[in-house]
């Protein structure tokens, strides 16, 4: 195994790990801000308790997101130096702007919010949590602008042996980011929705603070529902965009080897072990064409035809991504999402019919559903990034061309082992604290704010 392999594995491990924390930060920041807005208006103690209870869990999660994010910013230079040279003229800008515009806002106002409960006028204190929420959204936006360049390069010219920016505005309005950002944001809303839902149910099942957590349950149901419905709708237009710009990714996600018109949707496809051919498949006729073009017909290109097309365009080479990974991560993402949709609608029904208590023997399992959005989020990124392979920047640079030349495989292996050990231990500590505070009486949490 060489430096390339370890560097890819390390990037995968650290990125998926980082993204355990990001969606919850995105969704929970807005949720806490909404709770505090209620408190600002009502002045009621229970609204304050709700704000501080969810705020505490938000802080624990936020810390993990921040520290694992630092690794991401450094890793491009450390492990992908040739990539950084090639696209630095374009890719560096959104990262720097993210720090300057978003990260400063987030970090500074989080400190203000946490330490400012008794020191600031209520309105300014409320504004500070909204600034944290907006800062984390902007942060995600700039990172996705950078990522979108890798999926669909725009606003550049090849000059001086590298990609140079020619149109900053094109970078900002990259069609890829226009669907990717809302998809990521609302997946954060859904993640936070299920997080709050699961913990609220735990309290209801244990008859602790029933009034407060019944309200949380209702808010979270609505929040999760909004999140999951919008994620699905935006995901749909994202997939249609993908058919246009990264057809190989879509073909892999469907295990579609030959182009077809009308194209069927795969219910189950088993391929050969190397992912190069189809062995067995159950398909629903016309559905993929319908999903791709909103009509019953329309050609969806298959892997083999795209391989031939790309060989002609980019020269001899293997342009297939690791098909089974893309196929299954796509299905895991969509499957987890659909399950979340069903659960959220069921919760809505129970809340509206006032049947929460009567169904507690089913609902008590809901805390485990907190894992569903995590599965879906990780699978989504694995599909997006592995589906881009063999490209590092689509059509411009292959992954093996981007790896650092000055870093040996042994050095990357050392760092991979270290990061994995530290990340593993921190995950244990994080889950321990989240569990501890998720099952604490909100009145007790409210006593201990304003200092470490």
């Amino acid at each position: 195994m060489d430096a390339l392999f370890w560097a890819r594995l390390q990037f995968a491990v650290t990125t998926v790990y980082h993204f355990f924390f990001v969606p919850l930060t995105l969704g929970l920041a807005v949720f806490v801000a909404l709770m505090q807005t209620r408190y600002y208006r009502s002045g009621k103690e229970e609204d304050k308790q709700l704000t501080q209870f969810w705020g505490k869990l938000f802080l624990i999660n936020f810390a993990m997101g921040v520290v694992t994010g630092i690794v991401q910013e450094f890793q491009f230079g450390m492990n992908w130096s040739e990539y950084s040279r090639f696209v630095g003229d374009i890719f560096g800008a959104p990262l720097a702007i993210e720090a300057l515009l978003a990260f400063f806002v987030e970090s500074t106002f989080l400190g203000v919010w946490f330490f400012g409960w008794d020191k600031l006028p209520k309105g300014i204190h409320l504004a500070s949590i909204w600034l944290v929420a907006i800062g984390s959204m902007l942060s995600a936006l700039w990172i996705l602008i950078a990522n979108s360049f890798m999926q669909q390069p725009v606003g550049f010219v090849l000059r001086n042996g590298r990609a140079e920016m020619t149109d900053f505005f094109a970078l900002l309005t990259n069609p890829n980011v226009l669907t990717q950002f809302p998809h990521v944001f609302f997946s954060g809303v859904a993640t936070a929705g299920f997080f709050v839902l699961g913990i609220s149910v735990w309290h209801l099942a244990h008859k602790s603070n029933v009034e407060i957590f019944k309200r949380s349950f209702q808010y979270a149901t609505l929040y999760a529902l909004i999140g999951i419905v919008l994620v699905a709708l935006i995901g749909h237009s994202q997939a249609q965009h993908m058919v246009q710009t990264q057809p190989m990714k879509m073909a892999a996600a469907e295990g579609l080897y030959e182009s077809e018109d009308p194209a069927p949707f795969s219910l189950l496809t088993i391929g050969s072990l190397d992912g190069r051919s189809e062995v067995f498949s159950i398909r629903l006729p016309n559905l993929l064409s319908l999903l791709s073009y909103n009509q019953l017909t329309g050609e969806v290109k298959g892997l083999n035809d795209l391989q031939a097309e790309y060989t002609k365009k980019y020269g001899a080479g293997d342009y297939l991504p690791p098909v089974p990974w893309i196929y299954w991560s796509f299905r895991i993402m969509v499957g987890a999402g659909m399950l979340m949709g069903v659960l959220a609608f069921a919760c809505l029904y129970l809340a509206m019919q006032n049947k929460i208590d009567a169904n507690m023997r089913y609902l008590q399992w809901l805390p485990y559903a907190i894992l569903l959005p995590y599965v879906a989020n990780s699978a989504g990124w694995i599909m997006t990034e592995l589906g881009r392979q063999p490209w590092l920047v689509f059509g411009l640079m292959r992954t093996e061309q981007g790896v650092s030349l000055a870093v040996s495989g042994g050095a990357v292996l050392i760092s991979l082992v270290l990061f994995t050990l530290v990340y593993g231990a921190l995950m244990g500590a994080d889950i321990f604290l989240l569990k501890k505070y998720a099952t604490t009486d909100p009145a007790k949490i409210a006593e201990a704010v304003g200092a470490y």
Binding site: I97, G111, V422
Partner: protein, 337 residues
Amino acid sequence: MDLNTLWFILIAVLFAGFFFLEGFDYGVGILLPWLGKDDDERRIIINTIGPFWDGNEVWLLTAGGAIFAAFPNWYATMFSGFYLALVLMLIALIMRGVAFEFRSKDKRPGWRNFWDWSICLGSLVPALLWGVAFGNVLRGVPIDAKMQYTGDFFGLLNPYALLTGVYGLVLIVLHGAIYLTLKTEGTVMEHAHALALKLWLPAVVLLFAALGASYMATDMYTKLGVNPGVIPILGGAALLSVSWFLRNQRAGWAFVMTALTLITTVFTIFLTLFPRVLVSSTDPAKLSLTIYNASSSPYTLTVMTIVALIFVPIVLIYQGWTYYVFRQRVGKNSLVH
């Protein structure tokens, strides 16, 4: 002045801001287990930087991002070349950041002690490594014609770079001790004050040793001349005055002086470097990375300049405001149990 020079200055300013601000919270972090005799004292110490440390750290991330955006080749060569050192630094920063948030969330002494030492070591490692890194950038590291670092990890640990590393570390601890003198009361303040007085002389000795070594090990002499100029002299004088201010109970001024020393140290390094950003010891004249051969295109530099001119002042205003909001000293009565 061209945009390349402007970005060189801006990155120097970002690093100066980083060492000034994160300098004291590294210093406070390093001192935490030593000065905090019991849990209350430790919480007082942490709470002096509680609202600020995260915002301060963003100065580093912004400096990193600015290097990437403005000088991608500098970012690529330095970050891949200093690989293992940066891995150590990242792990230190991870442990430190998490520790602030985690340590008070459980009452077990073992738990708190573990995170307190994480804060200490997590502050010490980067405080030391930044000095080592800048020592190497200035002294030169082996870089070939393809802008690739050809040395190894242990090559970075040469005596000169270790000296600049220790100088940076001691200056940062002194800066932190003075900050604690300013922001606490009672025994913590007294101990911090006494420690600052003790650290002053070693810091002065190290400053002059590092300056002298720089004249020998780097081309500071050809760059700055016998008389190094206003900026380094100001830094030296500021550090010399610290002891007087401390003895006369003017910790505020002492803090301004260590801040000045940190800032002028960064500026002296960048002045000596200019127009290079990373000196090649293989062939300093031909293979060094400069603000021209390492830079982004004029278009990107223009875009980034506009963004920076709008947003840097805004950041300064609201960060300054937070220091005003939390300007009070932290004492036992401000802790919540």
